[in-house]
Structures are given as C-alpha cells and as structure tokens.
C-alpha cells in the first residue's frame, strides 16, 4: 500500500521473557484508526514503538514511510501523543504547559503562544487556562492532554485510552473532540479497549489480542449491516433448512436466527420462507454486527 500512514513488517517486542507484540504485519491508511484490544494486548507497546520510544525486538515499523528506529525525531516532529497515564505538571497553568508543549514540538515562541491559546479554546478550557493543572478535574486533565497532543498541528496524533476515567458526559465530549480532528486534517490513531468508542470515532480498525493482530481493515467491512434477525414462533429447524436451501447463511443466536445472503435481500428471503412454511413470527428486524462481535469472533471467545 503506497499511501500507508503506518506500516509494520514482522514487528515484535518482548519485555524480557514477556512477549508484548508478535509478528505484526500492518498497512494502515490515513484517516481515523482504531487500535482495539484488551488491557495487555500490546496497544501501548505498539504506540511507543511507532513513536520511537521503544525499539522493536524484531521486525520494522514505519510512520509516514520513516523508520521508527532510525528517524524517530522526524516522526516526532509530525505526530502528537496523548499518553494514557498522567503526564501533566501539576504546578503549572494549562496555558503555560501548552506553550511549553508547543515550543518542545518546535514551534517558535510567538506561534506557540497563539496555538496554545487556540487549542485551549478548542477543547473548552479557555476560562480555566490560567489555573494550575493540579486543581483540574479528570475531564479537564484529559482535555489538556488532548490539547498538548495537537498544539503543534501534527499530521497524526496517537491517543492512548483517551476516555479513561471519564464520566459519561466527559466521555461524550472527548469522543466529539476526537471526531472533529479528522476535519482538521489530522489523522488519528485511537487506542482503546472500549469498542463503542472506536465505532464512534474510527473508519479503520486494528484488533490486537495477546500481541497479535487478529483483524485489520475498514470498519465498514468488519461491521456487517446486512444481517436479518428473526425469532420464529416455532419450527426453527424447518425455517433454517429452507433458508439454507435458498442459499442463505444462518447462525443461531439464542432463540433467534441470524440470516445473511450474498445474492439476495436477506429480509425478502426470510419473509418468503416464513410465508411458504406458514410460520408465525415473534420478532423480525435488522441485526448489526458490532465491533464487539467481530472482536469476540476473532479472539475465539
């Protein structure tokens, strides 16, 4: 893939005897990328390798076609990073910290002052910009962390568990902000174990499980919207047999049947089968395969 933002080949990393990443081959295009996996799946390790903080034990990784090991300073000039852990100096005001973060990223002083003010306005902290960060709520700290990650107008920003510790309202605000980043021309890699957050914000998903990539592809191709869920009043086996005879794929989900068809409208097939067999129906409607379904299927759970 010629226009990959992130590319890895046989990438692996081990902390002593503990293997965190195992033979990762990825080609990820520009856009909003979701990095999904349980805690300990290797998400943060992958981000730290992409930033050049960690060296891969085996394999290679590139960001913007720049080797993460040899050209990490060039990469860091073009990316932003919002760590999962605490990263804010508590005795400094948000305004001063953002100014420092901007100059650290290479912005001249005047531009850094302007951008820090703009970014605090963007994340909704304009009123609190002169308050010490130590007095901020968790939500305000998360927004400050996001602001420092984009204060230098990066081409790509890594967001590691951006909604961690947020209440529902704060989470919504954070997801809205992340969604807006694409409109600013900033590619985003969101690492999260909350699949709903990824579905809300991303158009490409990389799923990690035990340090291995179990899926990588466009969200639309992973999440199937063409499945019909039907709960017949009885004679499940007859209905299933008829649908299979007509070329449909049928799965069981409790008392419901999940029907999909490559050649026909699944809804029409189900309707005709029910009519032909004279079976009553208790529930009939579209079934959306969620990212959670895909993840559970991919991880063999």
């Amino acid at each position: 893939m010629g226009d990959s933002v992130i590319s890895t080949t046989g990438l692996g990393h081990a902390y002593g005897s503990v293997v965190a990443l195992h033979s990762l081959d990825l080609e990820v295009p520009a856009g909003s990328i979701g990095l999904v996996g349980a805690n300990g799946a290797g998400k943060s390790t992958l981000i730290r390798i992409l930033l050049g903080i960690l060296q891969p034990t085996v394999g290679d990784a590139t960001v913007f076609e720049l080797d993460t090991h040899k050209r990490q300073l060039q990469i860091r000039s073009r990316v932003g990073y919002m760590p999962e852990t605490d990263c804010l100096p508590l005795d400094l005001s948000a305004s001063e910290f953002l100014y420092h973060a901007a100059t650290l990223a290479g912005l001249p002083t005047k531009a850094a002052r302007q951008r820090s003010s703009d970014m605090l306005g963007l994340v909704g902290l304009q009123e609190e910009r002169f308050r010490p960060i130590g007095g901020f709520s968790t939500g305000m700290k998360q927004r400050t962390k996001l602001a420092q990650a984009i204060v230098h107008d990066p081409d790509l920003v890594f967001l590691d568990e951006p909604t961690a510790g947020l209440d529902p309202e704060g989470r919504e605000e954070m997801l809205d902000l992340i969604t807006r980043l694409a409109g600013f021309g900033i590619d985003v890699l969101v690492s999260s174990h909350v699949l709903g957050d990824i579905e809300r914000t991303c158009d490409w998903v990389v799923m990690l499980e035990g340090g291995k990539a179990i899926r990588s592809g466009p969200l639309a191709s992973l999440v199937d919207h063409d499945v019909v869920s039907v709960e017949p009043a009885g004679r499940h086996a007859d209905l299933e047999a008829t649908l299979r005879q007509w070329g449909a794929t049928v799965e069981h989900a409790g008392r419901r049947l999940l029907v999909r068809s490559a050649d026909h409208d699944a809804f029409v097939l189900v309707r005709d089968a029910l009519a032909d067999l004279g079976i009553g129906v208790l529930r009939l409607g579209p079934h959306e395969t969620t990212l959670e379904d895909v993840f559970l299927e991919g991880s063999g759970l």
């Binding site: 290479g106 912005l107 951008r115």
Partner: protein
C-alpha cells in the same frame, strides 16, 4: 435601529504552516523550562521563595562589600582585603550554590518523572541525551547567575571606586576574569553532576536534597577522619572523598594562593590538579550514569 459595526467570525481550527525549529527548538525549550522551574518563574509564589532568598544571599554581600569600600576612605583594590578578594567570595557563594543545587536538581528531574511529564518529552523531537544535557544546561545557567553576578558587581564596583579610574582599573584587572570563570566552572562541575545523579534515582525531592546536603559533607568528614588515622594503610587517599572541598582547593590554585588552608585534600598532601581530576572524574561518571538511566526511561 443601530447599524452593525462589527462581525464575529468562527475561525475554527487554523492549521499551522509556519517554521518549525525541530530538535534545536526542543532543547532550547527544555533549557528555558529548567531555568524557570528552578527559579519558580511562572510557578506559585511559594516556589519562588527559596531560590530568590538564596540569590539574595549570594549577591547581597557583594553589594555590601562594594558599599563598605565606598565608605572606606583608604580602600585600595590592589590590596588584599576581605572586601576585594574574589577568591574569598567563592567560599561564601560556594556554600549558597551548594544549597541551591541540592534543591534545584531534584526539581529539574524528579518532577518530570513522578508526574509523568517525561512521556511528553519522549514524544517530542528530543533524545534522552538531549533532555539530560538541556536540564543540566538550565541548572548551569542559574548556577552561573549565583557565581558570577556577585563577582561582576565587585569587579565593576571596585573599578568604579579605584583611584586609577574606572576604565584603567577594568583593564588592569582583566586577568581576574578568566580566573573567576575557571573557579566558577570548578564549583559547577563539582556540585551539579552528583546532585543530578541523586535526583535521577530518588523518588522524592526532599529525600534527594537531604541525601546531597548530608552525603557530601559526611563524605568530607569521613575523608578528614581517614587522613588523621595514620595507622590505616593508604589513609591519605581518604582526602579524595572530600568532594565539598575539592573546588576550593582548585580555586586556591587558580588564584595563585597558597594551598592547604585547612582543606582536606591539601592536608592529605594532594596537589590541586588531583582535586581537579577528582571533580572531573566524578562529573563524568555521574553524568554518564544519569544519561544511561534516562536512555532506559525515555
């Protein structure tokens, strides 16, 4: 009806397409932040108290000395006097700098580690070595303020009071400038690296400051005790442990004063160049360990 006289525009997100200073800018920003941090600039008032009290302690005697010299009708800068001696002033300012370094080094390194700010530095165009040298650079700059401003005040003040005229006095005393700079470098090299080494490992600022403030004098005390223990083989090498006294030994050498003024390394029979070698050796090893540790952290 009032006519509209202005308009409000939502500029939204404005991309930045100006110049970027890269690694050089990141290093400069780290140095600047270090200077501000150790002086409490842009921090809460209580963070400013200790550094500025220490700066006042370092500078005020120089102002007082120049004032006394002004009031003293028979003052002559050519005569060795307690008011005029740059070498002696290092004894006073060296103690103040020792206290300052004990407080400043932990402030520079421990805060970034314990509050997680190091991960921000790791994501910027900055290597671990750059970070450490920039932090050390910030510390050195402020130490230079402590060490050089009082001497500059005395140098200029005494020149202004000289009977030979301001300009002539400045020229006559030009030879003092490299001596002052060299002695200041000796104090910086002796104190800053060990303080940074302790701060690179300690988890709390107070503990790091305590270890430095207690550890260096205790080492000197042990060194002093060892050189008097004549029945111990190689006892004179204990004099090398007197880390707090090596810069004074080197200073006396630089200013051409008789060495051995109750300084442990001199009492142990070591030449000043040995003290210089110890200072440089400790500095190189200390900074090497600090860099090695931060390469693993960043």
């Amino acid at each position: 009806m009032t006519e509209p006289t202005g308009a409000v525009y939502d500029l939204g997100y404005v991309p930045y397409d100006g110049p970027r200073t890269g690694r050089r800018g990141a290093i400069q920003a780290t140095v600047r932040d270090g200077v501000q941090r150790v002086l409490g600039i842009r921090r809460r008032p209580r963070k400013k108290i200790l550094p500025w009290v220490l700066i006042a302690l370092a500078i005020t005697p120089a102002i007082v000395f120049v004032g006394f010299a002004f009031l003293s009708s028979n003052f002559s800068p050519d005569v060795e006097s307690p008011f005029a001696s740059h070498a002696d002033y290092f004894t006073l300012v060296g103690t103040v700098v020792f206290l300052f370094v004990a407080l400043a080094a932990p402030e520079l390194l421990i805060t970034d580690r314990t509050e997680g700010v190091l991960s921000i530095y790791s994501s910027r165009p900055l290597r671990a070595d750059d970070y450490i040298w920039a932090r050390a650079g910030g510390l050195v700059l402020v130490m230079l303020v402590f060490l050089l401003i009082p001497h500059a005040l005395m140098y200029l003040g005494f020149a202004g009071l000289s009977s030979s005229g301001f300009a002539d006095s400045l020229i006559d005393d030009l030879d003092k400038i490299p001596k002052i700079l060299a002695a200041a470098a000796g104090y910086i090299a002796a104190y800053a690296p060990p303080a940074l080494l302790i701060a690179a490992f300690a988890k709390r600022k107070a503990i790091a400051a305590g270890i430095f403030l207690a550890g260096i004098p205790i080492l000197s005390g042990i060194g002093g005790a060892l050189i008097e223990a004549t029945d111990v083989p190689g006892h004179r090498y204990g004099g090398l442990l007197a880390l707090a006294e090596h810069p004074s030994h080197v200073r006396d050498w630089i200013f051409g004063r008789g060495t051995g003024r109750d300084l442990t390394p001199a009492l142990a029979g070591f030449d000043p160049w040995v003290s210089l070698a110890v200072i440089l050796g400790v500095a190189v090893v200390s900074l090497g360990i600090v860099v090695f540790r931060y390469r693993r952290l960043m």
